[in-house]
């Protein structure tokens, strides 16, 4: 059974490149264009094994999404990786405090991404 990954980013090129890259690596991929849409999907029954989210997004940003997602039932231990261009330590600390599993700076190569995913998602 392939693992499911939810990709959240307002950039259509990011969503498509990540989706294709992850599908080649054998994952099933769900996508959302902002935090609100991702949250609606989680509430609607999508149960990802891992979430990759951008930070700066319209409607609902990554930080707020992480906070809301962690409050949902069954989402407490789901790995959440932030993939962003934000490099400030303060932002990293805030994400860590909200329950993010890791912080990745764009761009991240396909091999590196899969390596990180396998680290945080045993059995992937």
């Amino acid at each position: 059974m392939p693992k499911t990954i939810l990709v959240v980013d307002d950039s259509v090129t990011m969503v498509m490149s990540l989706k294709t890259s992850l599908q080649i690596a054998g994952f099933t991929v769900e996508t959302a264009n902002d935090g609100q849409q991702a949250l609606d999907k989680l509430k609607g029954g999508v149960k990802p094994d891992l979430i990759i989210t951008d930070i700066n997004m319209p409607r609902m940003g990554g930080m707020e999404f992480i906070r809301h997602a962690r409050a949902l039932p069954g989402m407490r231990f789901t790995p959440i990786l932030a993939l962003t261009t934000e490099s400030q330590q303060a932002k990293r600390d805030e994400a860590k405090k909200l329950g993010a599993t890791g912080w990745l700076l764009k761009p991240v190569g396909g091999a590196d991404l899969v390596k990180v995913i396998k680290q945080v998602l045993p059995g992937a």
Binding site: S17, S21, I24, Q88, G102, W103, G110
Partner: protein, 424 residues
């Protein structure tokens, strides 16, 4: 120091000079008048008295008129001098004001040009923003096109691998079928090889049987002879029974039955003989047509077919090995291709990084246009423009420094204070 300082200074100096000249001339003319009056009174002390008598007026009145006229003359002189000086000062003042007007016109022109420049700069910013937006859309479209083509490439590589895998499986199945066929052919060849001996042995057995069957021909002749003899005996018995009369009647019946049996035995013997002859002819004909040389030929043909099948099996084995090697090589290449595609897709993220940078630039240009537009509405706002622009620049640079800057030589990026990948 502004361009208006010099005309203003000249104007102030001219006014000051005029005031000083007035003060100086007034003092001088008064002094001269008093001196003149004093001299006249000193040398002609009875002049006012005589003039009063001559004019028929009182002496004090004459004295007052005399002093008044003197002062009037003095003031007239002073006025004439003041007019002269004022005239010159007014000329200088007019010249200075003309210069001031020129400077004001120039300043106004400069202000208008500055506003035009700001308006043009705002238009330029708008054009830059449109261009940035277009570039962003173009890069997004082309990146999506590359991603789609990359996806298709990966799917094609996957299909090729599936096809090769399928072909390899088919080749294996075919090789097993061919192996089975060759084994069957070997069994047939062994059977065909043993066939001449079998036929020879069968022929010998048939010959032996034929000999025995031919012996049966004699037996049939014997049966026929016996039946003839029996017939004769039965005939004689019937004659003797007839001679015996009534007592020989039963015996005559037996004799008749015996003759009948003898005839039937004779007929059976004929049938047997005829059947045996036909069977013998058929077997001999069959033996005569069987040709062991042809069997040898067929055997060689069968052996050749087996050899051909063996070669075919070897060829298929080679082909299967080729397919296995091809499958292995293509799988390796496909894995490498998948890794390259994944890295290439990672590079596509540059579009988003660059897109965000262009968006920040776009936001800065929008803010700058807004500042330029506010200059149009307020003259005093122009004084605050440098400060506002400086603040805008500071904000832009700070915002830029908060984001990673990729190194386009590879996937490494300037991560700022933290690592590029950090797991908490």
């Amino acid at each position: 120091m502004t361009a208006l300082t010099e005309p203003r200074r000249k104007l102030a100096d001219a006014s000051l000079r005029q005031a000083r000249a007035l003060r100086r001339n007034m003092a001088l003319s008064t002094l001269l008048g008093v001196l003149l009056l004093s001299v006249v009174v000193y040398y002609t002390h009875d002049l006012p008295t005589r003039l009063a008598l001559w004019l028929g007026v009182s002496e004090p009145l004459m004295m007052a008129v005399f002093v008044g006229l003197t002062l009037l003359g003095t003031n007239l002189l002073a006025g004439l001098m003041f007019f002269h000086i004022s005239y010159r000062s007014a000329g200088a003042l007019s010249h200075t004001l003309a210069e001031l007007d020129d400077e004001l016109i120039k300043t106004e022109t400069r202000l208008r040009v500055s506003r035009d420049a700001l308006r043009t700069s705002a238009d330029l910013d708008q054009a830059l923003q449109d261009s940035l937006q277009q570039n962003l859309q173009d890069s997004e479209t082309s990146t999506l096109g590359v991603i789609e083509r990359t996806n298709r490439l990966n799917e094609s590589a996957g299909r090729l691998l599936d096809y090769l895998h399928h072909s390899s499986t088919n080749a294996s199945t075919m090789a097993v079928d061919i192996q089975q066929g060759v084994e069957d052919m070997n069994r047939i060849a062994r059977f065909v090889g043993a066939l001449p001996d079998t036929i020879r042995k069968d022929a010998e057995v048939i010959h032996h049987i034929l000999q025995e069957v031919k012996q049966l021909e004699g037996l049939a002749a014997s049966i026929k002879a016996i039946s003839q003899q029996t017939n004769l005996l039965a005939l004689n018995a019937a004659i003797e029974a007839a001679r015996a009369g009534e007592s020989g009647r039963g015996f005559a019946v037996v004799a008749t039955e015996v003759r009948d049996l003898a005839n039937r035995a004779s007929t059976a013997a004929d049938t047997i003989e005829s059947g045996l002859n036909q069977a013998l002819e058929a077997v001999e004909r069959s033996l005569a047509t069987s040709n062991l040389g042809d069997s040898q030929h067929h055997l060689e043909k069968a052996t050749q077919v087996v050899d051909a099948f063996q070669k075919l099996q070897n060829s298929y084995e080679d082909m299967r090995q080729f397919y296995k090697t091809l499958f292995s090589v293509v799988t390796e290449h496909n894995t490498e291709l998948a890794e390259q595609i994944a890295d290439m897709l990672g590079l596509m993220q540059y579009q988003d990084v660059e897109g965000q940078r262009l968006t920040r630039m776009n936001d800065m240009l929008t803010e700058r246009r807004r500042l330029y537009a506010s200059m149009e509405q307020s003259a005093t706002a122009l004084e605050h423009l440098p400060q506002a622009l400086e603040q805008l620049l500071t904000r832009y640079l700070e915002d830029e420094s908060r984001h990673s800057h990729p190194d386009h030589g590879g996937l490494a990026a300037d991560a700022g204070p933290g690592p590029r990948i950090e797991l908490f």
